[in-house]
């Protein structure tokens, strides 16, 4: 919402400075976004008079002007404007001046061999309007040499406020003045509009016809003024409108725009001679359409409210007038409409047709119903004053809803909600100056909100009004009482897991990324997602259309982005949500990571201490295990399965599970087909950990870790090498060895795997180191031999292998 300082002062008697006004507007909730002054940019431009205009020797359309600048000798200017003539008084730009509408700085030029020392400007070149048919043509008596902007009254601050949607009353300058007056910044000049007695009945009748559907128009006021003389508006009116960025059209249209911004009351004018028969306000019909005043055409249906005459739809009620019945300079008889529309209907129609107008903006927020007829009187007065003519009687159809919003208001509510002590008299003054009515006495009174405040609903709104007008600074800072003496643990298990996984992975050299929660449909489908219930109806782009079923696609693609920038050895991870369906329960928290190129734990690339190899499945497995350990998973109980999703390399991937059905993590090298589908290059490995899949930790009795059971006896090590089938899992062998004598075997390390000379083709040699920890007494050689035999027997039995001789 924009307005000029002088416009505001038309409604507000005040000595306050611009700075004070701006500050107070902001502090009462009408936040000032910008204060501009067109004169700032137009400072260099002065009024100048064309003394001579000769034909340019080398160009038909150009003229060579001698221009009196008000000082020194006349200067020579080459000009192409059709209206350039001797005697014209216009606006001059000189070399060095910046022309805002052209975005250029003038210099001395030579146009077809004739020197030019400046430029006579058009309105568009000075950003005053869209007018560019000729140069500015001022009255003959405009003073030559004087600053144009000052002379034209453009040297005026324009204030723009960012209006919140609850304040339709401040969509007019008058309402803003009322708020400022209430806040003590002056006196409101109360409006009053005389009722104009028409000398004849309005020849056009209006009916509201909504059948048994919801009425989209509540009431409708109409009057004819016949015999008007339309034309360009007087300068003051044009100036008001152009100052806030509106284009003056003709007096009748300008009056409606003026009252829209002056009073927050949109109106419409029809050229009565183009209206056939009477007006009906009704729902649109399929197949109907309208050509709007904005030069666009709209297809209508029964959700849209229209005004039609006997032949056509003439207006989108409350939003946009129709072009055929619009007022032009030739209009002689005019119909002025002031109506009251259904807010939701306006909003729905505006949304549906995508029309944004000043009328829609106000009607969907709710205009003052009680001002419908006064607004019509105001417009009629302006028409009579500016265009002459003879007014008919006004007619009103429908019912203006009665304002019976009365609130029981205990004054104690102010203190309860705001924490500030306010005297009753002070509260009353604030409310009354905003137009509220107060009746009764004592601690609770009845308060009626004025008709222009549809946002006032209950007690809390009244508290806001009082505190807003008195100033939020009056509310004292009040410490929130502590809930206990020492802060308690506040994080949930899930939150703690995420935090630990995050820092554990970062400590393994990963960089944490945050990628979009939505990915392309192709990527989602590749990773098991892409279901219809997780596809956005209005995605911002096809790349961001489906909720992600996994963090991996986003990270894989991100790693490639880095590679494309020249950083191919990257380790990225993310902690975030994935979506299995659209229910809250199936939004899961996971963490995933990718390593690309040679970005291994110890570092990437070449180094004097040894170059890093390409990342492989064991890097991903190590990361997954480390993160699981960090979130408290029983790593020693995890089982490795080889049934990872098909996005992974089938022979170089796995799952970490607690039992066959509870997958905690997947890891591995990415399948070449996945790489191709994502259009990325390896080597690249990934893992994903399902943080919610880990069972909740059991609540322990206490925090004690129990006694340390460290034996004083020396541990004993024994090495074994087995020949086993090539496809025997190491885990099978290790498990067999560990299980041979659980009380004594504390660790089994696999320290060598060998295939090649000396080992049959379909076999491999696996060497393990078994640590025996005696508890009671030192083991005898016989006892150690017995355990060794047990280990050999167990391993041979479960792997089908043999001890390597």
């Amino acid at each position: 919402m924009k307005f000029t300082l002088s416009w505001l002062k038309e409604h507000l008697e005040t000595d306050a400075s611009l700075e004070e006004i701006v500050e107070r507007l902001t502090m009462i909730g009408l936040e000032v976004e910008e204060v501009t002054n067109r004169a700032d940019r137009l400072k260099p431009f002065r009024i100048a008079k064309v003394l001579e205009a000769e034909q340019h020797p080398n160009a038909d359309r150009l003229r060579v002007l001698k221009v009196d600048t008000g000082e020194g000798d006349p200067i020579q200017i080459v000009c192409g404007a059709p209206n350039a003539r001797a005697g014209l008084v216009g606006v001059l730009g000189k070399p060095g001046d910046y022309i805002p509408g052209l975005d250029v700085t003038l210099s001395v030029g030579k146009i077809r061999d004739v020197e030019s020392f400046g430029m006579m400007c058009s309105e568009r070149e000075l950003e005053l309007s869209e007018e560019h048919d000729g140069i500015i043509d001022l009255p003959e008596d405009a003073p030559v040499g004087v600053n144009y902007a000052e002379w034209a009254g453009l040297d005026e601050p324009v204030i723009e406020i960012g209006l919140t949607p609850n304040r339709p009353d401040c969509t007019g300058v008058y309402g803003i003045a009322r708020d400022l007056a209430a806040a003590g910044l002056g006196k409101l000049k109360e409006r009053s509009h005389e009722q104009i007695r028409g000398s004849y009945p309005c020849p056009v009748d209006v009916t509201l016809d909504f059948g048994d559907t919801k009425p989209l128009c509540k009431a409708f006021g109409l009057r004819m003024v016949k015999g008007v003389k339309n034309g360009p508006s007087p300068q003051w009116l044009q100036d008001r409108l152009t100052a806030i960025g509106l284009r003056p059209i003709n007096i009748l249209v300008d009056i409606t725009n003026y009252i829209t911004f002056d009073q927050g009351r949109p109106l419409h004018v029809f050229d009565a001679d183009k209206v056939h028969g009477n007006l009906v306000v009704r729902r649109g019909k399929e197949g109907e359409s309208i050509d709007g005043l904005n030069a666009k055409s709209y297809e209508l249906d029964d959700s849209v409210c229209v005004i039609s005459d006997d032949n056509n739809v003439e207006s989108l009620g409350g939003i946009l007038g129709g072009e055929p019945s619009g007022c032009t300079e030739e209009t002689v008889n005019v119909l002025i409409e002031s109506a009251l529309w259904d807010e939701d209907g306006i909003a729905a129609t505006g949304r549906k047709l995508g029309v944004h107008t000043d009328a829609r903006y106000r009607f969907e927020r709710g205009v003052d119903p009680d001002y419908m007829m006064p607004g019509l009187e105001y417009a009629t007065r302006m028409v009579l004053d500016l265009c002459g003519g003879e007014a008919s009687q006004a007619i009103q159809t429908g019912t203006v809803p009665e304002n019976n919003n009365i609130i029981d208001f205990p004054y104690s509510e102010i203190k309860r909600l705001s924490g500030v002590e306010v005297a009753q008299a002070e509260a009353n003054l604030a409310l009354k100056s905003l137009g509220f009515w107060i009746s009764g006495s004592g601690d609770t009174v009845k308060v009626a909100a004025p008709s222009w405040r549809p946002d006032i609903e209950g007690k809390a709104d009244l508290v806001e009004e009082v505190v807003r007008i008195l100033g939020l600074d009056r509310v004292p800072f009040t410490p929130l009482p502590r809930t206990g003496t020492v802060s308690q643990k506040v994080l949930t298990t899930g939150q703690i897991r995420r935090s630990r996984a995050r820092r554990a992975l970062a400590a393994r050299g990963f960089n944490e990324a945050v990628t979009w929660s939505f990915i392309s449909k192709e990527q989602a489908e590749l990773f098991g997602g892409g279901a219809p219930d997780l596809a956005l109806a209005n995605p911002i782009s096809p790349e961001l259309s489906d909720m992600r079923p996994s963090l991996m696609p986003g990270l894989l693609v991100a790693a490639q982005r880095n590679a494309d920038r020249g950083f191919g050895d990257v380790a990225l991870f993310e902690v975030g949500q994935i979506f299995q369906n659209d229910t809250p329960e199936d939004q899961k928290m996971v963490t995933a990571g990718v390593r690309r190129g040679t970005a291994k734990l110890q570092g990437a690339g070449r180094h004097w201490s040894g170059a890093s190899d390409n990342v492989d499945v064991f890097d991903a497995k190590a990361d997954a295990e480390a993160a699981l350990a960090a979130i408290g998973a029983p790593v020693e109980k995890l089982q490795v399965y080889t049934d990872a999703p098909t996005t992974f390399h089938p022979g170089r991937s796995g799952c970490l599970k607690l039992g066959p059905k509870n997958t905690l993590a997947v890891f591995g090298e990415i399948h070449p087909r996945t790489l191709a589908a994502l259009d990325i290059e390896g080597p690249i490995v990934a893992f994903e950990i399902y943080l919610d899949a880990l069972p909740q930790p059991k609540s322990k009795g206490g925090r004690s870790k129990g006694a340390l059971n460290a034996s004083h006896l020396m541990p004993v090590r024994r090495d074994f090498a087995f020949l086993v089938g090539k496809d025997v899992n190491a885990e099978t062998l290790l498990k067999a060895a560990r299980g041979a004598e659980k009380n004594l075997i504390t660790d089994v390390t696999l320290f060598d795997i060998y295939q090649g000379q000396g080992v049959p083709e379909d076999q491999k040699s696996v060497a393990i180191d078994v640590l025996l920890q005696p508890r009671q007494k030192t083991l005898t050689d016989e006892e150690i031999d017995a355990i060794s035999k047990k280990i050999i027997a167990n391993v041979e039995k479960s792997t089908g292998g043999t001890l390597r001789g």
Partner: protein, 360 residues
């Protein structure tokens, strides 16, 4: 006697001349071995007269002791020299650069770090962390929060929708973290003190808007918390978060459907340099929206607004991260450019605490 003197002198010369342990051993055998010079002399003692023996015995023993000591001394010198030589040969160039350790190269994203900072501050004030789903119902994202159907305030949210279901329900991506207020109030008995960090979505994209961003919401519901408490909480938060001793702030009346009265908070800043400096200068910067929870919202959660009251606020996590740590562009938050993460990210062990400082 002169024989012995000569022998002594010869042997001492040989010992001094020995350049390594082997040649020294040769000298030892030559002097003290079974057939060594001194041993041979010792054997002659038996054939001597007692008088001769009286003289030669001590002399030979003396010589033997002297030579033994000399050998031992020479041996130490040689061992020392050998060690020196070995050490010299073992020298390496300790200026060779190391691979950086993974804990040094890993980085935490600024959004995560700032959430940890928020957690540290608000946990101290007795708040816990509430969360909710990203896919929400229209009811929780709008209706229960007092956004009337068709109201322009809904439109300002640029909502991402899912396709309508058969039963007519249309889910959406939450446009703010406020639906978690409703979820919390409907499941938890007052007194309530929570902060709600999370991802939020609006279909908007330019220099300062991304279709996904992060918000944090605060909610206090009890029987006495009022706007004065809200002002205090936010002032203490701003001081703690921006790590300044004091900060000028101003509350401006504003409008949000789910609070009444509603306010926006501006904090003091300095825009004169290249970046915005918080807590100095005389410009204002809008940082958050807040207010007393609207009676309709309290009612929508099954509580009586004449008994229960409280306040809420909400702000952008990415935005306050940018203000505190100086990132110029929001879009880079979601680009996963390692150069950006390395530059703006945080070390894995720098967990923010109040006792150790949020950032250091």
């Amino acid at each position: 006697m002169s024989n012995l003197d000569t022998l002594e002198s010869d042997l001492l010369t040989a010992i001094e001349g020995a350049q390594n342990e082997t040649s020294l051993e040769d000298v030892r055998v030559h002097a003290l071995g079974k057939k060594g010079k001194i041993s041979e002399q010792m054997k002659t003692l038996g054939k001597m007269t007692p008088e001769e023996r009286q003289v030669m015995g001590p002399a030979l023993n003396g010589l033997k002791a002297k030579i033994t000591d000399a050998i031992s001394a020479r041996k130490s010198v040689l061992a020392e020299a050998a060690l020196e030589a070995r050490l010299a040969s073992e020298k390496v160039d300790v200026t060779l650069p190391l691979r950086p350790s993974p804990a040094e190269t890993g980085r935490i994203h600024p959004v995560s770090q700032v959430v940890d900072e928020l957690t540290a501050i608000f946990a101290d004030m007795g708040f816990s962390i509430a969360e909710g789903p990203d896919i929400e119902t229209d009811e929780l994202n709008f209706t229960a929060l007092n956004f009337p159907e068709g109201h322009p305030a809904r439109e300002m949210h640029d909502t991402f929708f899912f396709n309508e279901k058969e039963d007519g329900e249309r889910l959406l991506l939450r446009t703010h973290t406020s639906p978690v207020q409703i979820r919390t109030m409907r499941t938890q008995e007052p007194p309530i003190r929570v902060i709600i960090p999370g991802r939020t979505y609006r279909c908007d994209s330019d220099q300062t808007h991304t279709p996904m961003f992060h918000q944090v919401e605060g909610l206090v519901i009890d029987k006495e918390s009022h706007f004065g408490h809200l002002k205090w909480v936010l002032r203490e938060f701003c001081k703690a978060f921006f790590e300044v001793d004091d900060i000028k702030m101003r509350f401006r009346p504003s409008f949000f459907p789910f609070t009444e009265p509603s306010m926006e908070l501006d904090i003091q800043c300095d825009r004169s340099g290249g970046e915005v400096k918080i807590g100095q200068g005389d410009d204002w910067l809008e940082i958050l929206g807040c207010g007393m929870v609207h009676p309709n919202v309290i009612r929508n959660c099954g509580l009586d607004p004449d008994v229960y009251q409280g306040f809420a606020w909400g702000m952008g996590i990415d935005r306050i991260a940018m203000l505190k740590y100086g990132m110029p562009d929001l879009r880079a938050f979601f680009d996963a450019d390692v150069r950006w993460i390395q530059h703006y990210g945080f070390r894995p062990l720098d967990l923010p605490t109040l006792f150790g400082g949020l950032s250091s």
